[in-house]
Symmetry: C2
Subunit: 245 residues, 2 copies
DNA sequence: CGACATATTGATCGACTTCAAGTGTAGTGG
DNA sequence: CCACTACACTTGAAGTCGATCAATATGTCG
């Protein structure tokens, strides 16, 4: 269970990125997590069409929302890393419109819906911050739509890497411009909506231009400015500024 | 101003699609709309990077969220019709990460953020329903991502039409399998992330197979079953069932 | 009618997919 | 320590989908 030890509750860390929390609010969030579960890479964490009675918070690893089409094709619609909720929206949607799969081994904390519901009854400010986290989810969806629709494969790849870097940096999982991102090119292809071969070639392009290194799980951004330029990247949508919400 | 007359407040109609409202809640929603504004096709309703102090609710017409890339390409990331909020998320995001443009002439109701905020302080159930509406937005985003990434142009086109039909039906703007949808093929192209020419050809395919008719603003689905089949369409993500939230 | 936007069509081009090997690299068991 | 296996990554070739370019309708509105 190495790597799990954290000073603060991950939910506190997550929400306090966007606004300050009172001591009282922190106390409440401490009590909201039920138990912790582990998953192996490839496991399903949440099933499509299920009706969860708790939501899942990532403590470590990477997971992704996915859809499978009738012809067997898969599309990932979101990537989750430490601190992210994977299915907070199930509190309101009731029925999952997608599954969630573990891309790497990962640990998640279970947050029972009745406790979240109690927060919505009694803690308006915390409720708004939880709401905010689903709204940021949606902003990321929009950025993906733009990238899929109107960027080249290389631009889209670069955009994803910019996003992942900043999101990991926000939870202190980067080391300079390096970070662990142990997903396969096939999985990246399913995020981008492209073929594995093409993802491979986009990465080769970025490597050959000395913008990126990616050996095994370790990604290093060698030229952040050019990566951003290729991606036409604007980080606004990640809402990484703290302000009163 | 024809067509505006409605028995119920549009916000009541919107939220009561997903759960029942008390008389008290309906009364509160009646008082939440400030004024009504009109826009002409092509107008910007909300600007990217702005910090709105009110959110906009569609009363009539069609509008869309959009992003413009550095090279001038445009991608629409959401389509809004009667009853939809275009920027409810600005209540929490504070800064708009996209613009909203009027695709047709349209009327919108302004809902001041301070009144919405008051609801979040005092009305947990209404707050959850507002939250739900942003969460459905996100579910639609995911459906678009899947369609862009893993469906053919024809499948994607069919999927969009299935979605628009059901959403319009939910607000009683359909007439059997017909509805008004006066957007240009260029605008559809910007929703799908494809070229105008290709959208034209996808539509011709659907027409030639006698699945669809589309003359001027009027769309008629001639074969709903085959349209759904081509789209591989599952309406779950639209959350069109009423249940306790 | 003229002006302008939108829709349609054809031809060409290129990005990306698919298919099919081949090349690591890590893990397993003898 | 060395086969042997299993993935993942890489590469090349061929094919296709969809983009782009360029005309030509068609339609609408003043």
């Amino acid at each position: 269970m190495a790597g799990l030890v954290q000073t603060k509750n991950p939910l506190v860390l997550n929400l306090s990125r966007h606004d300050s929390l009172s001591a009282e609010e922190e106390r409440i969030l401490e009590g909201v997590v039920d138990r912790i579960d582990s998953f192996r890479a490839g496991d399903d964490i949440v099933l499509e069409d299920s009706r969860p009675s708790e939501s899942c918070l990532m403590l470590s690893g990477f997971s992704a929302r996915y859809h499978i089409l009738h012809d067997g094709k898969r599309q990932l619609t979101a990537l989750h890393l430490t601190g992210d909720f994977l299915d907070l929206h199930s509190l309101l949607l009731k029925v999952m419109d997608h599954g969630v799969t573990a891309l790497t081994d990962c640990q998640i904390a279970r947050v029972p819906h009745d406790r979240l519901r109690k927060i919505t009854e009694e803690q308006p400010h915390l409720t708004r911050l939880l709401w905010l986290s689903t709204v940021i989810d949606a902003a990321i969806h929009r950025a993906w739509i733009v990238a899929m629709g109107r960027r080249s494969a290389v631009g889209q790849m670069a955009h994803l890497l910019c996003e992942v870097f900043l999101r990991l940096e926000a939870v202190e999982l980067t080391d300079g411009y390096s970070f662990d991102f142990s997903v396969t090119q096939g999985e990246v292809a399913d995020m981008l909506g492209r073929s594995t071969v093409h993802v491979n070639r986009a990465l080769q392009f970025l490597r050959q231009k000395e913008i990126l290194r990616w050996r095994g799980p370790k990604v290093t951004i060698e030229d952040w400015d050019r990566l951003q330029a290729i991606a036409d990247f604007d980080p606004t949508y990640l809402s990484l500024r703290k302000e009163a919400r």
